[in-house]
């Protein structure tokens, strides 16, 4: 077990290193002066380490100081606003995380149990209904789905708002960045109204993203359950006369979920892409929207730093998921000896 942990730690560290090197190298690849791309302006007194980076002549020393600057939180300023990037990103990141976490949770809570239901009734009517609907669901382009939802629900029926995170009437002090948490923790008046309003703003974006993720989770789980039900050990457990509930909860559940975890980990990058697209459509104040505005404005320091941050978050989450799935799966090392 310790070896697995060490291996994954090494892997993550190497990956992060490569990402940082990429973000550093992009300053040279992007058009324009590399120093300006690194810092945002020509001189920057408020961020001394970054200044040190720009003054190096040797590229390795430059990189070394760049890493130090990154770790210290001196990420340069943006071309467009001139404000330090660190504050901007830290303000926007929780919004994106909030949307992603809610979308993933809904997709998991609905997708996995329904996937089990479909798999246990393999090729029967319920399964076919789930299969067809999930295929239709994940063929939707995410931006069109979002626009459809806005058209139908916000404009036609006027049930839910179509942009933003919270109505401008409410003023919630920043505590953690997660708006539902912030509302609950703060003591503004009309807390209930503010909470409802925030929920209303959350529904459509979360729905757009979780729609597609749900379909993928359902299909993956169903395939895994169907494969497990065909195995010899389940059949021999049934022949032995073990009660159905025991077979399901003790054998099918674990063996079906274990191969699904790594697949879900790969879905995270698709999910992040979808979240970023949905943010632009709903004007959700998150990293995705900010990054896309940055590319429109050719704001190179912002692009570099934003890309680094999002990749780092995705890599850390994916690697931890894979590491956990390796640790809790006793069958993973089944072939480890054979490979020698």
């Amino acid at each position: 077990m310790i070896t697995t942990l060490i291996r994954y730690f090494n892997l993550t560290f190497l990956t992060l290193l490569i990402l940082v090197m990429l973000s550093f190298g992009l300053a040279y690849f992007f058009p324009g002066d590399p120093i300006t791309n690194l810092m945002g302006t020509n001189t920057l007194d408020s961020q001394p380490l970054l200044m040190l980076t720009s003054q190096q002549t040797n590229i390795f020393m430059q990189f070394w100081y760049y890493v130090q600057a990154l770790l210290a939180g001196e990420w340069g300023v943006s071309f467009a606003t001139g404000k330090p990037l660190y504050q901007d990103i830290m303000r926007l990141l929780p919004a994106t995380l909030e949307l992603s976490i809610y979308a993933v949770t809904i997709a998991l809570i609905l997708g996995i149990p329904l996937g089990f239901l479909a798999g246990m009734n393999y090729h029967k009517k319920i399964d076919n209904i789930f299969m067809s609907s999930s295929m239709i669901m994940y063929s939707f382009p995410v931006f069109w789905l979002a626009l459809l939802l806005i058209l139908l629900i916000s404009l036609q029926a006027q049930w839910l708002p179509m942009s933003g995170r919270l109505s401008l009437l409410f003023n919630v002090p920043h505590y953690s960045g997660f708006i539902l948490v912030d509302i609950l923790v703060s003591d503004i008046e009309n807390k209930r109204f503010a909470f409802n309003n925030a929920l209303q703003h959350l529904i459509l974006p979360t729905l757009s993203v979780s729609f597609i993720a749900f379909a993928v989770f359902l299909r993956t789980t169903r395939r895994s359950v169907a494969d497990v039900l065909e195995t010899q050990y389940i059949k021999s457990a049934q022949t032995r006369g073990l009660p159905g509930k025991t077979i399901f909860f003790r054998h099918v559940l674990r063996n079906a979920l274990l191969p699904v975890l790594p697949i879900l980990a790969v879905q995270i990058s698709t999910l992040v892409t979808n979240v970023m697209i949905v943010e632009t459509i709903f004007s959700w104040p998150g990293i995705g929207d900010w990054l896309i505005q940055a590319i429109y404005e050719r704001d190179y320091p912002a692009i570099r730093t934003g890309m680094l941050l999002v990749s780092v978050v995705v890599v850390i989450i994916t690697m931890s998921l894979e590491c956990i799935s390796q640790l809790i799966d006793p069958t993973r090392d089944r072939f480890a000896y054979a490979r020698r």
Partner: protein, 331 residues
């Protein structure tokens, strides 16, 4: 006393619009305390019989039989729940590949503990019940012949060797104290030593615990030492059935004789470069079954009569289905 009685069991399935008889009027009986061997080539339908008895056939199969009874109770007419109850307590099945039949993500201890029937567990509180289950499991595992019970029980199936897995499966089958043990080719692919151990275990269990065994295999050498009686199956039809000694001494059906001959004897006076005895041809596929006696095209004694299905006749509890049996005047 007869505990399992199968008479004229027919299994049909529809394939490409045609009804194919995979098992054609198969008959088999098992007495108490008897080891019966079910012998046949691969593809003769042995595993189908096992599945028909245990009720594990997919619903597309059409099952008809004159008699398919367990201790007098009709197995076909029973509800699923009753069938399951019988399978849980009275009949136990062991399969071919032991490692595939065990859940790869659960420890052997958990799989053993969950097989212990509730009726044997003593104790009111859950820790008492757990301890009782554990002690029953330990006893059975010792009886089955696993030396290092403590070491093995905490491992996963892929970490122990195949023979320990098979003994484990046997222990799990025995813990419910069944009356009949159906062993579907349990020693396939095993080395001779392990095979001998398992077969010796079966003989011991049969003598000490009054366990009847239906041993399905195509390994004649192993069976002839151990079994009390034998049924020979060819291509979905029972061709001969009777006591082991009688069949070995005087096989009545040509196929039985061919099977006996095909087991190499390795005796010192075997002439060099002598031919291996085998029947010509191969077993027919399900789509191309011969009419009448299915051995017809391959049989060296076949004649015009053989396109009609021979009826079952018996001499002294030695039943056979042949128009021209050996050692007997044709009727």
């Amino acid at each position: 006393m007869i505990i399992l009685d199968i008479k004229n069991l027919t299994l049909e399935i529809e394939s490409n619009g045609v009804l194919i008889k995979a098992l054609d009027k198969v008959s088999l009986t098992i007495q108490e305390n008897e080891i019966r061997a079910l012998v046949g080539e691969s593809g003769s339908g042995k595993s189908l019989i096992v599945r028909a008895i245990s009720g594990a056939l997919p619903p597309q199969w059409i099952v008809t039989a004159d008699r398919l009874t367990w201790r007098g109770q009709n197995l076909i007419k029973m509800t699923r729940a009753q069938r399951q109850a019988i399978m849980r307590r009275d009949i136990a099945v062991i399969f071919q590949d032991p490692m595939a039949a065990l859940d790869p993500s659960a420890k052997l201890k958990d799989q053993m503990l969950e097989s212990v029937p509730r009726e044997f567990i003593e104790g009111r509180y859950s820790w008492q019940r757990y301890a009782s289950r554990l002690s029953i499991s330990h006893q059975i595992l010792h009886k089955v012949g696993i030396q290092n019970v403590e070491g093995c029980i905490n491992k996963y199936p892929h970490e122990v060797s195949a023979d320990i897995c098979q003994k484990f499966m046997i222990a799990m089958a025995l813990v419910s104290q069944p009356t009949l043990l159906i062993a579907d080719d349990p020693t396939r692919g095993m080395e001779t030593n392990t095979k001998k151990q398992i077969l010796a275990l079966f003989t011991r269990l049969n003598k000490t615990r009054n366990l009847s065994i239906l041993f399905v295999s195509h390994d004649l050498l192993a069976i002839s030492a151990m079994a009390h009686s034998m049924t020979v199956l060819y291509c979905g039809q029972t061709v001969e059935s009777g006591k082991m000694k009688a069949m070995r001494r005087r096989p009545l059906h040509p196929y039985t004789k061919a099977l006996m001959d095909s087991a190499p004897s390795f005796s010192p006076d075997l002439k060099p470069k002598s031919m291996l005895a085998a029947l010509d041809g191969t077993i027919p596929t399900l789509q191309h079954l011969p009419i009448g006696c299915r051995l017809g095209p391959r049989c060296p004694r076949a004649a015009k009569e053989c396109v009609q299905m021979p009826t079952e006749r018996s001499i002294n509890q030695h039943t056979y289905r042949c128009h021209y049996p050996m050692h007997v005047e044709p009727v």
